[in-house]
């Protein structure tokens, strides 16, 4: 018998050209590679560069900028901390902040934001306030670099007399929480809002991905599981510092979903006030286009082709069903890995076009979106985009909020399954065709919430 010529694509995937539709296997194992490359947050931090080399502004300049902006006369004053520059970096948390800023400024508030000059995948080690450098932005305009010492002096000076000062903590990555807590406690009339966008309060591994591969569920500190995770050695000190921050600032905790809030509360032991504030909702059209049985079922992966976002499960399906006339596989995002049997549609969601993904899903006629995230998602914008795009969503049971989100938002257009074997069976046996055909196919558009703005304005009667 003649040998079957094997070929290999550039990622080492065995591609048997004469055996289209056969199972494929990688010569390498992406899961093992992910594990093998897992390193501690501290080791990762060693390669991170500061975002700017600018010298700090004089304290007087910060003070006069705030006075010029009319902080003292503003209806309210939000002093906001997060890990990066929400005006130039795009993402879920940054979306929330943009919406929050828009709502608050519309109501006459002043919005002052700080992020660390030195980004880190962990908390900053404790440093003196004059050593902690931050990028300051005021009402959507970047001011420059300031020191935490000057921030503390300035905000305390103006904040002591301000009738409506609120500290909003979106993310503490890269910050020294002790310095922020000292600022908060120096302004006794202020209130504090702490966002649980993720599980950073529980571990430097923000998504609690043990060895970058498995959701760990926040086991006891010092457990054997922490012992084999690169984040484990940092965790005791981290949790102590985060716990002290919450105890000293007495915040109201907001979370994008009840799912993440429940996990966050259970493991932090936090007993203060909490609220769930979803970052967006879907408004559906009243009519839906009929299901098109005259073409292959279009199956989509929304967003970056990342292992942690379940790309491997999607790619496996696409390769398995190469040559199968029932299915067509589409990836929507900016990056492509050029995999056979997957059509890439360039889609870039930006501050200017927040609805780009929803529009792309509708235009491509995606019938089914596979959301196979390995992370414990706190909300899942991609799931919402798929739903708004009219797609049926297949979610992984362990992916945090994804399952409960899609079944709550669109009960007749999602299924939640546990294992990749079940996923493969759904397609191999064709059951997904029946599910998609019988699903609610209405499209819609995403309506952003006002984030913290909604809560603060409601409280102050400005809504």
């Amino acid at each position: 018998m003649d040998a079957i010529p094997n070929d290999y694509d550039r990622r080492g995937v065995i591609v048997p050209p004469t055996l289209e539709g056969w199972a494929y296997r990688l010569r390498r194992d992406p899961a093992r590679e992910t594990i093998n490359h897992a390193i501690s947050p501290r080791a990762r931090a060693a390669h991170w560069q500061p975002v700017t080399r600018e010298d700090p502004l004089p304290r007087e300049e910060l003070l006069s900028a705030l006075e010029d902006a009319g902080v003292a006369q503003a209806a309210g004053w939000a002093v906001v901390f997060s890990h990066d520059h929400y005006l130039t970096v795009f993402g879920g948390t940054q979306n929330c902040m943009n919406d929050e800023e828009a709502a608050l400024r519309h109501a006459g508030w002043t919005y002052l934001h700080f992020c660390p000059v030195q980004p880190l995948p962990m908390l900053s080690d404790p440093v003196p306030a004059h050593m902690m450098r931050l990028v300051a932005s005021l009402n959507g305009v970047r001011l420059g670099v300031v020191t935490m010492a000057d921030v503390a002096t300035t905000v305390t000076l103006l904040g002591r007399t301000h009738r409506n000062l609120t500290f909003i903590i979106h993310q503490l990555l890269g910050h020294a929480p002790e310095l922020i807590a000292a600022l908060v406690t120096a302004c006794p009339n202020a209130q504090t809002v702490f966002w649980a966008h993720d599980l950073f309060a529980l571990c430097p591994s923000v998504h609690l991905l043990r060895n970058d591969i498995s959701f760990c569920g926040s086991p006891p500190i010092g457990s054997p599981a922490c012992g084999i995770c690169p984040s484990g050695s940092e965790r005791p000190g981290h949790v102590t510092r985060m716990g002290a921050f919450l105890a000293n600032t007495c915040p109201t905790v907001l979370a994008p979903s009840a799912t993440i809030l429940k996990v966050w509360q259970r493991h932090t032991g936090f007993t203060g006030p909490t609220r769930v504030v979803p970052p967006c909702r879907v408004e559906f059209q009243s009519e839906a286009a009929p299901f098109n049985r005259g073409r292959p079922l279009r199956v989509g992966h929304l967003g970056a082709p990342l292992f942690a976002k379940g790309w491997q499960a999607f790619e496996s399906l696409a390769r398995w069903h190469q040559g199968d006339p029932r299915y067509e596989f589409i990836q929507l995002g900016t990056l492509t890995l050029d995999v056979p049997n997957i059509r890439h549609i360039y889609t870039q969601v930006s501050r200017e076009d927040r609805h780009a993904m929803v529009k792309a899903v509708i235009e491509a006629g995606v019938d089914v979106a596979i959301n196979w995230s390995l992370c414990y998602e706190s909300f899942s914008f991609t799931a919402m985009e798929a739903v708004a795009g009219g797609a049926f969503v297949i979610a992984r049971k362990g992916a945090g909020n994804v399952g409960s989100l899609v079944t709550a938002v669109a009960p007749n257009r999602a299924c939640v399954i546990e294992t990749e074997v079940e996923l493969q069976a759904l397609f191999a046996e064709g059951h997904i065709l029946e599910l998609a055909a019988g699903a609610d196919r209405r499209t819609g558009h995403l309506v952003p919430s006002q984030g913290t703005g909604a809560i603060l304005l409601q409280e102050s009667g400005d809504a």
Binding site: R32, A38, N211, S214, P219, P224, A225, C229, P230
Partner: protein
């Protein structure tokens, strides 16, 4: 509670592994006395300071009372030699008054207290762990693990524990004697270092305990029937039991492939492996030449071929003639082997 003495056996090339073992034993049994048995000498310039190690004592092969130990050592490769000295060391510790002695291979890491071992030592003279404790159900499993056990020994001698009772001491004396003569990797002739010998132990000695608990001595050869899981409670389990110790055999060669074969797509075992490699890196023996072993080369630095060692241990006349087999030069054993065409 009797004092437990725990030892491992290495050449300097396995110092990183021995350090990980000692670190993990210390974590769970800080009261145990740790011994390092070295069949090696440090290379020039390499600094080994016991005060900086997790071991309490170091014993060198030359301190084991083996007659003409250099000549005897020459007849073994590094694995055979580091295995052969386990017997004399066990005997030495028991003779010197140790009540409980535990041997652990250097490529083992302890994940939680070895309570079952300590408990069993109160009732048994010798404790052994079988390579497999569940019948295999696949052809690959039968070939790799059941037939593998028939070839290489029913029990894995990465672990053995002995109580200083009459039977325990009798075992130690017998094991020492056999290993001094026949600790050879010679599977066709029924020998595989110290392991095949211990197939006889339950028959030759009384009160031998077989530790079937799946959490002890987990390795590629039994992983298929003892899947590793990591729970939300933070506990690592093997076959549903809290993992006690894992045997990272040949992790940088064939071992990882065998772990992949028997993990059936699960990834937890590779998390253990990542951690283990990280610890090896942290405990690297800085300044040690690659593949260093003082008994691995002739005096001129040439690697000693296995054929030279086999001839040495087979030919009493040759051993009688050449007093120091490691010497190079025209009248040495090395030159004789070359003249005889041994490669």
């Amino acid at each position: 509670m009797p004092k437990v003495h725990c030892y491992t056996s290495i050449s300097f090339s396995y110092l990183d592994r021995a350090r990980v073992l000692a670190e993990t034993v210390r974590r769970h049994h800080p009261d145990w006395t740790m011994w390092l048995l070295l069949s090696d000498d440090a290379p020039p310039g390499f600094r080994f300071d016991l005060a900086e190690e997790d071991f309490d004592h170091v014993v060198n092969i030359r301190d084991l009372g083996i007659d003409d130990y250099r000549s005897w050592a020459f007849g073994h490769d590094v694995v055979e030699l580091c295995t052969a000295v386990k017997g004399p060391m066990m005997h030495k510790l028991l003779s010197e008054g140790a009540e409980f002695v535990v041997y652990l291979d250097p490529d083992i890491a302890v994940f939680s207290p070895l309570d079952h071992v300590v408990d069993m030592l109160g009732r048994h003279s010798v404790i052994l762990t079988p390579h497999i404790a569940t019948p295999e159900s696949s052809l690959a499993g039968i070939l790799d693990n059941e037939i593998g056990s028939l070839k290489h020994g029913v029990y894995n001698l990465g672990f053995v524990a002995v109580r200083a009772c009459t039977e325990g001491k009798r075992f130690a004396g017998w094991w020492r004697d056999r290993l001094l003569q026949f600790c050879h990797d010679d599977v066709p002739n029924g020998l595989f270092t110290d392991q095949r010998w211990c197939d006889l132990v339950p028959a030759l000695f009384r009160d031998v305990g077989i530790l079937h608990n799946p959490a002890y001595n987990v390795a590629s050869w039994n992983l298929g029937n003892r899947p590793i899981t990591i729970g939300d409670d933070g506990m690592i389990r093997a076959g549903g039991e809290v993992l006690r110790f894992f045997h990272f055999t040949k992790v940088n060669t064939a071992g990882e492939g065998m772990l992949a074969r028997y993990s059936y797509g699960d990834t937890e075992v590779f998390e253990l492996l990542r951690w283990y490699r990280e610890r090896l890196s942290a405990h690297k023996a800085d300044g040690l030449p690659d593949r260093w072993w003082i008994y691995g080369t002739y005096a001129d630095g040439t690697t000693i071929p296995r054929s030279h060692r086999l001839t040495w241990r087979a030919r009493w006349d040759v051993r009688n003639h050449f007093k120091d087999p490691f010497l190079s030069g025209p009248s040495g054993y090395q030159a004789w082997c070359a003249a005889e065409g041994l490669r």
